[in-house]
Symmetry: C2
Subunit: 139 residues, 2 copies
């Protein structure tokens, strides 16, 4: 459903959301706990930092932490950074740039209920929801 990069981002953020607020987590520890390659994780966190979702501190005892409370970050704010089809609300068949009720493509009406459920999930679910529901259990 989502690219590996989006999955990594959500997993890292879900882990950060389980920490005490303002507690710094080093990239090394975050990598170990989530099973995400350390150097690749650092690039993902950079993008999340530019988007204002995490804060990074360099130097000794530095690391990462959430820039906002977990319940203030809906998943779509994360995923749209890495998934073009989410940012563009793309049509199912790729026929039009935007596919609206007023200007539908062939598959629009069939696709509509699932599309609504999909974007409703992304907009109403927050980091708090996916971080408080169990353990991370990296693969």
């Amino acid at each position: 459903m989502f690219s590996v990069t989006s999955q990594y981002a959500l997993r890292a953020l879900a882990y950060l959301a389980t920490q005490q607020p303002d507690a710094m987590v080093g990239g090394q520890e975050l990598s170990r706990q989530t099973g995400i390659p350390k150097n690749y994780l650092s690039k993902i966190l950079l993008a999340l930092g530019n988007a204002g979702i995490v804060e990074a501190v360099r130097g000794n005892a530095g690391g990462y932490r959430l820039a906002r409370a977990p319940n203030e970050v809906p998943l779509i704010r994360v995923v749209e950074l890495f998934e073009r089809h989410v940012a563009k609300r793309a049509c199912l068949l790729g026929l039009r740039r935007v596919c609206s009720d007023e200007d539908p493509c062939m598959a629009h009406n069939s696709w509509r209920p699932a599309k609504l459920a999909y974007f409703d999930f992304l907009e109403t679910t927050t980091l708090l929801d996916i971080s408080s529901a169990g353990k991370l259990t990296a693969p």
Copy 2:
């Protein structure tokens, strides 16, 4: 949402579904009508042929046609040929191979309604549904 290849497959099949049953459509015409590159389309149709979704006839006056009635082909039979996450019913966060109600991942309960709507759409929508709802209007 889907890869370009899946979108191409659905568009080509939707066009074939609008034709008279048993009518052959040449690859050249199919390519023109759908806006799909001719040579790439032929590879997609080969996969659809191996899956028993289309029939191909070579030689003069050959072409392609659906192997079954449009209402007998749910979209998931098409998409699962090209999308790994559909074939595997993959979990949202990529944490487990299978993510079930009995053995959920962190995001499972939040993701559940949207996931059900998504697979319900793929399993109940057929080529007839997406071919009878309007014109193809290639990009």
